[in-house]
């Protein structure tokens, strides 16, 4: 026999376990669950053992804490422990390291993360502590409602990490809490007074049904009502929030646009909720100017420093695909692209080496040059594991880390082999074939507005080679006669519609320029990508350093040319006087990718400096435009969900009516059947069910005859109905009590008449209501007696058959 505290302890453990399930959203697989369940089970077992010997509540808590400590030691720090289980100083040091690593993981990794040892440890220990709290409050203090706060904390962790907890996991967590409440309440009831059940009470009514087989088991209050209420509560909780439109932004975002990339934090590479463009804009519009880093270079005109490459063009705009599996640790001898190596052998490259000193720049991307040949590690990257080091992605030309960020004072050296292809080589570059892997990777286009296609065609004009087309597009943006103006007062966004807007309004900043030109390059069949990074910054001749501030954040374009590789374009026309300076691209020289910054790099960034502050205030308010673009389809999706829910709800509401109709058909068929006993039962059952539907009170304790009298008392019965009722009641009575069942008369017809009579005299609405919500089904009434009758008849028939077998045959 389980005691109250046993049941409560088990219920508390179950509630904690179910409450921990939503955490699965933070992990990429279920590897974390084993240890967590182990911790919960151990805590429950210790609780059971200590409560069995009636230890005081505080002793139970202490015992559970010790058990959790031993468990954590054995599972995660056994190497340093005494006997693998007793924690030593070394194990605590190991815990500290685990905790640090875990905190790092939490800070830098985006959910879902693979369950690493430190995360498994943190989860198991954290859930274990919650389990102890829940156990103490629910089983120790007998305050299960308050234990909900601890469970809520667990749930809050899960929701804050993930983008919405799946409904099934929420349902299970909530069910765990409800179970805890119900178990405690039941224990309270049982402890309230002496429990009196039907079997304790000697004087049951004489007509009580025979006791079921398990009658020796003491019956106790059951959970039937609790489970009914709980299920309805959970159903409402799962349906209602989905039907509330204003709140379900998460749901809409998920359903409507899927992973719409820009503007949504789930692109997996940054570990940050802001899209690269949003961060760029935020950087440009910040009112304060901060020095991000300084650069000392071997050349006097270093090119832009890049951080992130956006390689995918989706209807929502440019985004980073996050495809970074092909990476190497930074260091000397980074792989150069084959084209760069070829150019290097032809002498068409330039060696650049810069020392970069980090200032206020804090990011998980290191600014580097394109085609870097070596990047030295900042001091902080002393870790040994892959996740704790800076990784170089040769394909994109990015250096990033999933865990590290830069910190002030760090220094590293970037050496790059800058391609300086000749004009001739560029002009000779052949178009990239449509089936080339390069084209698949960098040339993908969503459906493009036809107006954009038209504008692109106009801009390209009669240019034929990829290079000529590129230059034409470059000129289209940078030529002052086309009317493009630099303005930070443009709404952000690089989506399809935003592209057309920009090409029509001709106002924007580097985000729009870069996005538009990259898109138009792809339209023209030239592989392209958008690069985010920093311009060279401000040169201080005295110290010979370049100072890069947040206002130097920039975006530009790279186009791919066969045999040459990526060539950089900066289509952003520079404001106030800088627009005149574009002598070289209409007549490209041998250094086409040396952009305006080459001569006056400081002026380039100074335009941003001047433009930014005046426009900062109203820009931030207009930022979230990508959400708007996706909301159209999302609302229709939510409508679909609402319709689906409505259908389900209606179907659920029709279940009673369907059940009733099915029962009626079955009984009508039986009433026509050959077996007089079954026919009588069926007709009788159907007739009483109809009466119950109508609201006639038919106590299960009444005899058949008494019930028939009640039926006959129903007003508005006509004579045929009354005689039909009498006939059916007679048949039922005979089938139960008489030696031979069966009466003279058509039971099926009588049943029809009786039904008609019983339902007559009711309004149409009332009859509809009876059909939709039949009481006989909803109350589950009217079954007991007929079942009893059926069992009686069957038993009698069996006995009769047995008796016939025993007696000598007269025949």
């Amino acid at each position: 026999m389980m005691s109250a505290s046993t049941r409560l302890t088990v219920a508390a453990a179950l509630a904690t376990f179910l409450g921990a399930l939503p955490l699965s959203g933070s992990f990429s697989d279920w590897g974390w669950l084993g240890h967590t369940v182990g911790a919960i089970a151990l805590i429950a077992a210790v609780g059971l053992a200590l409560r069995a010997v009636r230890a005081p509540a505080w002793a139970v808590v202490v015992g559970q804490l010790i058990a959790l400590l031993l468990f954590a030691t054995a599972a995660f720090a056994s190497a340093e422990a005494l006997g693998g289980i007793i924690p030593s100083l070394g194990s605590f040091e190991q815990f500290r390291v685990l905790a640090n690593d875990g905190l790092d993981d939490i800070q830098y990794l985006a959910a879902p993360i693979p369950p690493s040892t430190e995360m498994i440890a943190m989860t198991a220990i954290g859930v274990g502590v919650i389990a102890i709290v829940v156990d103490f409050v629910a089983a120790g203090l007998r305050r299960p409602a308050i234990a909900g706060l601890a469970l809520l904390a667990l749930f809050a962790v899960a929701t804050s990490v993930t983008n919405g907890v799946p409904w099934i996991e929420f349902g299970m967590a909530a069910a765990g809490y409800l179970v805890l409440l119900a178990v405690e309440e039941r224990e309270r009831l049982l402890a309230w007074g002496r429990v009196i059940t039907a079997h304790d009470s000697a004087s049951g009514p004489a007509f009580a049904a025979p006791a079921p087989a398990g009658a020796t088991v003491r019956q106790r209050p059951r959970y039937a009502t609790a489970s009914r209420i709980g299920v309805v509560t959970l159903a409402v909780a799962l349906i209602v929030p989905a039907a509330v439109p204003g709140l379900s932004r998460n749901l809409l975002a998920k359903v409507g646009a899927g992973a719409d990339g820009v503007g949504n934090g789930d692109n997996g590479t940054t570990g940050d909720s802001l899209s690269p463009f949003t961060r760029l804009k935020g950087s440009l519009t910040e009112s304060a100017t901060t020095t991000l880093f300084t650069v000392t270079s071997t050349v006097d005109n270093p090119y832009y420093l890049r951080t992130i490459v956006l390689d995918q063009y989706t209807p929502a705009g440019w985004r980073a695909s996050g495809d970074d599996d092909d990476t190497t640790r930074i260091g000397p001898g980074l792989p150069l692209g084959p084209q760069v190596q070829q150019l290097q052998s032809q002498g068409q490259t330039r060696q650049v080496s810069s020392v970069i000193t980090i200032g206020q720049y804090s990011d998980s991307y290191l600014p580097i040059y394109y085609s870097a040949s070596s990047v030295s590690s900042p001091p902080s990257s002393s870790g040994t594991r892959r996740s704790s080091s800076w990784q170089y992605d040769a394909e994109l030309g990015e250096v990033s880390s999933s865990r590290l960020t830069t910190s002030p004072g760090e220094q590293y050296t970037v050496t790059a082999v800058e391609p300086k292809p000749s004009q001739a080589a560029l002009s000779a570059a052949a178009p990239v074939a449509a089936n080339d892997p390069i084209m698949k990777r960098w040339g993908d286009l969503p459906a493009i507005n036809s107006k954009v296609l038209q504008i692109t065609q106009d801009a390209v004009g009669d240019a034929t080679t990829p290079w000529a087309k590129s230059v034409a597009l470059y000129n289209y943006f940078t030529d002052g006669r086309n009317g493009f103006q630099y303005s930070l007062q443009t709404a952000g966004g690089s989506s399809n519609d935003a592209l057309l807007d920009f090409l029509t309004n001709k106002q924007g900043f580097c985000e729009q320029y870069a996005s538009a030109m990259a898109a138009m390059l792809r339209i023209e069949g030239i592989p392209s990508r958008v690069v985010l990074g920093y311009t060279s910054g401000t040169y201080d001749a005295a110290s010979k350093t370049w100072t890069v501030t947040n206002l130097d954040a920039h975006a530009w374009v790279e186009g791919y040319f066969t045999g040459i590789g990526w060539v950089e374009f900066d289509p952003t026309p520079l404001g106030d006087g800088r627009t005149q300076y574009e002598p070289y691209l209409p007549a490209p020289t041998t250094t086409p990718n040396e952009q305006p910054t080459e001569d006056q790099p400081t002026a380039d960034s100074s335009t941003d400096v001047e433009q930014a502050p005046e426009s900062s205030s109203d820009l931030i308010t207009t930022l979230p435009t990508t959400d708007d673009t996706s909301s159209g389809s999302a609302i229709s999706a939510s409508t679909a969900i609402a319709i689906a829910i409505a259908v389900v709800v209606i179907a659920l509401l029709l279940i009673p009516a369907a059940t009733r109709a099915a029962a009626r058909r079955r009984r009508s068929a039986l009433a026509r059947g050959p077996d007089p006993g079954l026919a009588a039962h069926a007709a009788w059952d159907e007739m009483t069910a109809t009466a119950i539907d109508r609201g006639v009170q038919l106590p299960a304790t009444d005899s058949t005859r008494a019930l028939a009298r009640r039926l006959l008392a129903v007003p508005s019965l006509d004579e045929p109905a009354k005689s039909a009722i009498t006939l059916i009641a007679d048949a039922e009575e005979r089938s139960v009590y008489a030696r031979h069942a069966g009466v003279e008369g058509d039971l099926a017809a009588a049943l029809r008449t009786a039904r008609h009579g019983l339902l007559s005299g009711l309004s149409r609405g009332r009859r509809c209501w009876i059909a939709l919500a039949p009481r006989s089904v909803l109350a589950g009434a009217g079954r007991g007696q007929s079942r009893l009758a059926l069992r009686y008849t069957q038993t009698r028939d069996r006995l009769a058959a047995a008796a016939r077998g025993l007696l000598p045959s007269n025949r």
Binding site: T159, L178, L189, G193, I229, T233
Partner: protein, 435 residues
């Protein structure tokens, strides 16, 4: 529904408050998951309220006590039958019967589902160490939902009465009337004075056989009268009990008063069994003139409580008339010699007076000088009774009732012996009469 709403428990209210807070937070933060939590917290109490408000079953309650009259310290069984008189089964019901704390804690029961037409029988024992009339009930029902969020209390209105009567000690018989020979069966004179009809009837009491109704006197008195079974020429006695607060010490159940009441009950019951018609009086007046039922006597004694110190003087005439021609038996507490002398005056001539003087000071702690003074007073009290020709027995905390009664018996017997030695003829006559 409103009642169910008012029945929200602290837990239910907390859940609703938390749910409302969660709704606000969910709206402010746009968190769908929080909204789900809020919905759970709000819908659960709401459903519980609805479920409880819908549970409109009716229960009939029937309570019986056996016995309804129980001596101090002995148990009585209370039997409650709850029947579901509605057509729907009940939910789990918590039942609590309201009993005075003198009888112990409130008995509580948890009842599982009762099906329509079925019933449950609850039994429990009550035991009291105090005399008195106790109300058992009314029965309270508590309905609650399975999560403990709502609680409704319904109460039946009827209660039953349990009478805890003083214990009765069996006593050895002796002829209390002493030398005068006024024993049972010899009070013809008083019968003649009243007339047979009147003496042979008494008022109808519950339980009397209707065949015994004496219609003639019923018609005359306007009340239902029955014939007495007993012989009308009955022996009579008067029992006087001192119920003044000042006369007794100690706290119930261990007090001089309880001792006195128990003694009175034992003596009264003994005399009624012996066939005496008993008058019962306390210091303030007559309680019963004609007691011939042990049960009625015990009922009266069960309800006796100490009353304030009214002087004996006022009641003396009433007592005297009630005790006319009867043997008087007085059980007194602390009483001054003066008061004792007054009390002795209620005895009619030619009847005997017996007194049990309870030394109340034995039930309290007294300083030596007070104790000495109290001892002197008590001796004076005894002397006052003896002087008036009463037989008196002193009783203390350690005295047994039958022992004290036996002392009185000794006194009566010795008086009778003395009388016998004085007048032989009279002795012979009396002895024959007594036999």
């Amino acid at each position: 529904m409103r009642a169910a709403l008012h029945g929200l428990t602290t837990r239910g209210r907390c859940l609703i408050a938390a749910g409302l807070a969660a709704v606000v937070c969910a709206v402010l933060l746009g968190e769908k998951d929080l909204l789900r939590v809020a919905v759970v917290l709000l819908v659960l109490p709401a459903l519980c309220v609805v479920a409880l408000a819908r549970a409109r079953f009716r229960l009939a309650c029937e309570r019986s006590l056996s016995p309804t009259r129980t001596p101090v310290g002995e148990a009585a069984e209370v039997r409650i039958t709850l029947r579901n008189v509605s057509v729907i089964p009940t939910s789990v019901v918590l039942v609590e019967d309201d009993v005075p704390y003198a009888l112990g804690a409130h008995p509580r029961f948890t009842l599982d589902q009762i099906r329509p037409g079925h019933d449950r029988e609850l039994r429990y024992l009550v035991r009291s160490s105090l005399r008195g009339h106790f109300a058992i009930g009314p029965l309270r029902l508590q309905l609650s939902d399975p999560f403990g969020l709502v609680e409704l209390t319904r109460s039946f209105s009827t209660s039953d009465r349990l009478t805890v009567v003083p214990g009765v000690v069996p006593l050895r018989p002796f002829p209390i009337s002493g030398a005068t020979g006024d024993g049972p069966g010899s009070s013809r004179r008083s019968i003649a004075a009243r007339g047979v009809d009147e003496a042979a009837t008494r008022e109808y009491r519950q339980g009397d056989d209707l065949r015994k109704v004496h219609w003639k006197s019923t018609a005359r008195t306007g009340k239902l009268m029955v014939r007495r079974e007993e012989r009308p020429w009955q022996a009579r006695a008067a029992l006087v009990l001192d119920c003044r607060v000042g006369a007794h010490r100690g706290e119930a159940p261990d007090s001089s008063f309880e001792w006195a009441v128990t003694a009175a009950a034992s003596i009264g019951a003994h005399l009624i069994t012996q066939g005496y018609l008993l008058a019962l009086a306390d210091h303030a007046g007559v309680l019963e003139h004609e007691l011939d039922s042990r049960a009625v006597l015990l009922d009266r004694l069960a309800g006796l409580t100490l009353v304030d110190d009214s002087p004996l003087t006022g009641a003396i005439p009433a007592l005297r008339s009630a005790a006319r021609d009867r043997t008087v038996i007085a059980v007194t507490g602390a009483i001054t010699a003066d008061q004792a002398a007054q009390l002795t005056s209620i005895r009619s001539a030619a009847t005997s007076g017996l007194a049990i003087a309870v030394d109340a000071n034995e039930w309290t702690q007294l300083d030596p000088p007070d104790r000495d003074r109290a001892g002197v007073e008590f001796a004076a009290q005894l002397a006052a009774f003896t002087d008036a020709g009463w037989h008196v027995a002193a009783a203390g905390r350690a005295s047994s009732i039958d022992g004290t009664w036996a002392q009185l018996g000794e006194q009566v017997a010795s008086q009778r012996r003395a009388a016998a030695s004085a007048v032989r003829a009279s002795l012979l006559y009396n002895a024959a009469g007594a036999r």
